[in-house]
């Protein structure tokens, strides 16, 4: 089951597919971090500075590729390392149900 979930997360993040913040997920920027809460939940999730920038881009419907591109412009880091880090954050957000694939934004093939 774990490997199956991993597979689907990789699928979801592939090919520049647009993501969006899931319905019923609330977020709030406070001091230097972003707090995230599901309407149904009582557990707060927290993102620090760079994580907050990723969250901001997700609010605009960004894909993994787009987020990596934007952050690569802002920070001098090894692109493959950056992509691995962003991918890990997004995979975690997906698995926590905080973001989802934005099916409506996918152009028909």
């Amino acid at each position: 089951m774990v490997s199956g979930a991993r597979q689907s997360v990789d699928d979801l993040l592939g090919g520049g597919r647009p993501l969006r913040i899931a319905d019923g997920v609330l977020s709030r920027r406070i001091v230097d971090e972003t707090l995230i809460l599901r309407l149904e939940g009582e557990v707060y999730f927290s993102l620090d500075g760079v994580g907050s920038q990723i969250w901001g881009l997700l609010g605009q419907g960004a894909s993994l590729d787009h987020i990596v591109e934007v952050l690569a412009d802002r920070y001098e880091v090894d692109p493959s390392r950056l992509e691995a880090d962003v991918r890990a954050v997004l995979a975690n957000l997906l698995q926590s149900g905080l973001i989802e694939l934005d099916e409506e934004s996918i152009p028909p093939t």
């Binding site: 001091v31 309407l39 707060y44 999730f45 975690n92």
Partner: protein
Amino acid sequence: VSFKTYDEHRNYWVDQVKIDRYRRALAEVLEPGATVLDLGTGTGLLGLLACEAGAGKVYSVEFGPIATVAHEVFERNGVLDRIEIVRGMSSDLTLPEQVDVVVGDQIGGFAYSAGVFKFYADAARRLLKPDGVAIPASFELAVAAVEHPAARESIETFATPVAGFDLGPIHELVKNSVRTVSLRDDSSLLSTPAIVHTQRSTDASTFRVSSRLTLTRDGTLDGLVGMFVADMSPSVSMSNIPGHPDMMDRRWQDFFPMGRSVPVRAGDHVVAEMAVNPESYLTTWAMTVEGADGRTTREQHSTFEGELLDLAKLRLLARRPVGMTALGRAAVRAVADSSDQDVDVARVASELAAAMPHLQRSEVDRMVRSLAAVLASGPPGEV
């Protein structure tokens, strides 16, 4: 402090409509000798009414020291032999038997905001017989567009500089906060109240509502007012909607601000959308004003953005998508080690207490309860 407390309890006794509706509902529902759970007895009002209606045994639960007063009131009125006063929160309570009827008055302006769904759902799971009855049995929730200059002023105070200082951060908080208003008649309403949702009182699940309101007069839209009709028993109702035939004497409602008040005209439409978690009281609301000229204005708010958050404490509870805090790991490990359904709360508490020696035990307990509530609805996605 005492006088304020007595005034609060006085308010429960002076509402003759409310007393009448509880009295009639209990008379309609109670079989002779029935067992009753009186949630939040205060000075004893509902316990007395239950005995009057023929209850054989009443468990009167009260968290505060007012329980001592209830004891004396019950004794003075000759019903103490049928009452067992239980000190504490109903959520921590166990009883020697399941009861026939649960009755309480934790009803907020928009019903859920004083905890009724959350307390009743818990009572129904553990303390009420499977075929037991709750009073009120269900709630119809209503919303209306409202013009309320005093509520507007309490928000707009912070919209522009005060004494030359920018108080924007306070403005953000207040426009995302729910406040109580007291509408004595329907003169403040800009639309007819619309029933948007019905929910059983023992159901604390999250609900979403949407309604397109037609404005009935020109004015300034300051927000939405949330109200209810409580279906007490098959033939008894009680409401806080201005002008409703079963309107209580206690006339207050919940006000959800627009945030930026706008002028509106009769015939304009306001699409009101809300989502409510009755367990946490977390509420989001949005208003879209559709003017006759085709222009729309949309405002969206949530109590999450209006909460005064203690960041230091939240950090202890927050789950970081990458790299969980040591504390979170300790807590989640303790939970993960326990069996699927039964979270070992005592163990989590001791792990947390060890990890946070600076915290009061009561704070640790509160966090554990919150964590346990989440885990009870399913294990976390990633541990």
